[in-house]
Amino acid sequence: MELTQTNRLTPGPRVSAPRGAYRALAPRAQARASAPETRALGLGWLSVGLGLAQLIAPRQVAQLIGVDDDERTCLGMRAIGLRELVCGIGLLSETRPATWAWARVAGDVMDLALLGYAWKGDPPSAERALSVAGSVVGVTLLDVQAAYALARDGVAPLAHGVRVRHGITLERSPDEVYAFFRRLENLPSFMYHLQSVTESGDRSRWKAKGPAGISVEWEAELVEDRLGQCIAWRSLPGADIGNRGRVDFRPGPGGRGTELIVELSYDPPAGAVGAKLAQLFGREPSQEISADLRRLKQVLETGEVIQSDASIHRGLHPARPSALSAQVSERKVTR
């Protein structure tokens, strides 16, 4: 069982919680596992900020660090700003962070050389020179340290994954709910971002709509399958978006049908930045899952997903009968 890997994401509590205390999923920020990676992200944002300042206000930056603010310097300053921006985005994308950290080290060395060159002609006050050069040297040391640490640790897979947990109570027995869910082909009938799931043996092929309508695919394998109790799967190497999921089915108290708890995690493309962007353009993943579960409940309890005059369009629309309604997805539900 690979769930140890997901557990790794939950930071150990400093004081042990009482037994039975509800533990929320680790929020994304806490899910960042290692200190070097956190530092790398910090350096990334520093790069972005600095780069933007140099691109937008080169003259002011030049004045601040005590170099000439003529046209030539400003042009050079902009070029350096562009370099910073690229490095920053590279670090924030969390792909090959060590390389980007080393690129920052090279940039720092270049900056020190340029500073020396600029100050040779027109030296600033000793105080200012010391503080500016001191800052650059300090940042250089941080960069070297981060680059070493990142190169040593390698890139931790799923370290920044988006995780969602949700539950719903259904008026059906755990066996019935399990049986419906276990036929993975059924999933797209209520998980609207999925286009298809096809099963062959222990493996399954998933097709989904990613952010901005991009189609993504992956192969997954079952890692746990207990009749009427639990299903867990994870994507195989080579997936467009690495992900894993787990669904637990347990009888509700006092004959309240089934309590279904689902946990999903996935690696958004381009790491933290990608996750933020996906959120901006799409819906919150936790809201998406909650809507999926509600549709699952509708399918299992009433036979199909309910439509209203407003729901058959995307977004808010007047609740008037629509001429388009005839085309409403006759979403086939296999039961």
Partner: protein, 391 residues
């Protein structure tokens, strides 16, 4: 088809819109014969309910003839005459099995919106905002009814539309308001609001054995109706007397055993607190104006029940929780679980114990819906209840 559409604040218009179609297997299409304007439609009319969209078809009190049924509707046949309950309920979830139909867990496709506002979502309703599903309503020539195998009640031909139309909402709502009071012999029940729901709450309180029923309103014609038809034994015009003082003296200091708020979020009274509440509502600082509710809590006798059937949508200020706790009051509330009450109430109508048609003061063709709203809103021409004839 023609349908009465919400256009904006205090603006409705009958427009030509496409006919409804079967979208789910358990749908039916009803040809509407009679439909009514509800007091709660006025909250939409006044723009106090969020998530209304220009063009939304209004109306949640309607009845008519089955035109078309989906493949999974086995209990209805084309041509049958039905009354449709205003909450949309699947009949299969836990809430429906417990007969809490207005809390159906499956019928609101926009449940996430309601969850944001209220924490959890209730059932979807006809013609009552996107928050509650975005379902086109019944102030129209035709309407799509989801879960048609659960909701619509067949009605005998011997009864007129006006005798059975109110089974869709206001009669069961008033009845539930009285039922929640746990009325015992000797009980005095005070009812705030002598609109149609208030009238039916009074009538029901008497049917359920209340000794005395006191109606509270500011329109003499409504108070007269309460005395003549609604079953009220006494009335209070709150523009003439102080309600608290009056109730104290009418009950020899005990206060009513139960108080029913059949007013909701747009209550009126006078005084600085009213002005403040009104201003806050206009400024969107307080969505609901709870004057009747506050007064009902203050007046209710120790250990009594405050039954809230008037509609509230959001937050209220200055809620007298101290009175509730220290005097052991019980507050009960809810949108009516109409399905639960339709059949027994229809039987009472058939037996002649109840004739809800007494509330109807105006009958208009659907095309004049806008005039109906204006008249009902401003209480012109002693307006109590407007029925729109769609066919």
């Amino acid at each position: 088809m023609k349908a009465n559409c919400w256009i904006g604040k205090q603006h409705v218009r009958v427009e030509d819109v496409p006919d409804p179609q079967i979208l789910n297997r358990r749908d039916a299409i009803i040809r509407v014969t009679s439909t009514a304007i509800c007091g709660s439609d006025l909250h939409l009319y006044n723009g106090l309910v969020p998530s209304m969209e220009k063009g939304d078809v209004l109306g949640h009190e309607f009845m008519g003839e089955v035109m078309e049924i989906g493949p999974d509707v086995k209990n209805l046949r084309v041509g049958e005459r039905v009354v449709v309950p205003f909450p949309i309920a699947c009949g299969a979830c836990r809430a429906c099995k417990d007969e809490n139909f207005a809390l159906c867990e499956n019928s609101n496709p926009n449940a996430w919106m309601a969850e944001k506002l209220w924490g959890h979502s209730p059932a979807g309703l006809f013609g009552y905002s996107h928050l509650l599903g975005g379902f086109a309503g019944g102030q129209a020539e035709f309407v799509r009814v989801p879960y048609a195998d659960t909701g619509p009640l067949k009605v005998p031909d011997g009864l007129s539309d006006e005798q059975v139309l109110f089974l869709s909402d206001i009669l069961p709502t008033g009845y539930m308001g009285a039922e929640m009071c746990d009325i015992e012999p000797g009980d005095v029940v005070a009812v705030w609001g002598a609109g149609p729901v208030g009238q039916f709450a009074m009538k029901s309180a008497r049917l359920l054995g209340a000794e005395r029923v006191i109606a509270i309103d500011r329109f003499p014609y409504r108070l007269n109706m309460a005395l003549e038809h609604g079953g009220a034994t006494e009335v209070i015009d709150y523009e003439q007397v102080d309600v608290y003082e009056a109730l104290l003296s009418m009950t020899a200091g005990r206060g009513p055993d139960a108080c029913i708020d059949a007013v909701g979020l747009e209550s009126h009274t006078h005084g600085p607190l009213y002005a403040l509440d009104r201003a806050k509502q206009i400024a969107r600082l307080q969505p609901d104006r709870p004057l009747a509710l506050r007064q009902a809590i203050r007046c209710c006798g120790n250990g009594g029940v405050v039954s809230v059937i008037g509609v509230y949508g959001g937050l209220i200020d200055n809620f007298p929780m101290g009175a509730v706790v220290n005097r052991g009051l019980t507050i009960r509330a809810g949108q009516c679980h109409v399905h639960r009450y339709m059949k027994p109430l229809l039987e009472r109508i058939e037996r002649g114990e109840l004739d809800p048609s007494f509330v109807v003061t105006h009958r208009l063709p659907l095309a004049e819906a806008a005039r109906g709203f204006e008249m009902f809103m401003n209480k012109h021409d002693h307006c109590e209840k407007v029925v729109l004839k769609a066919a």
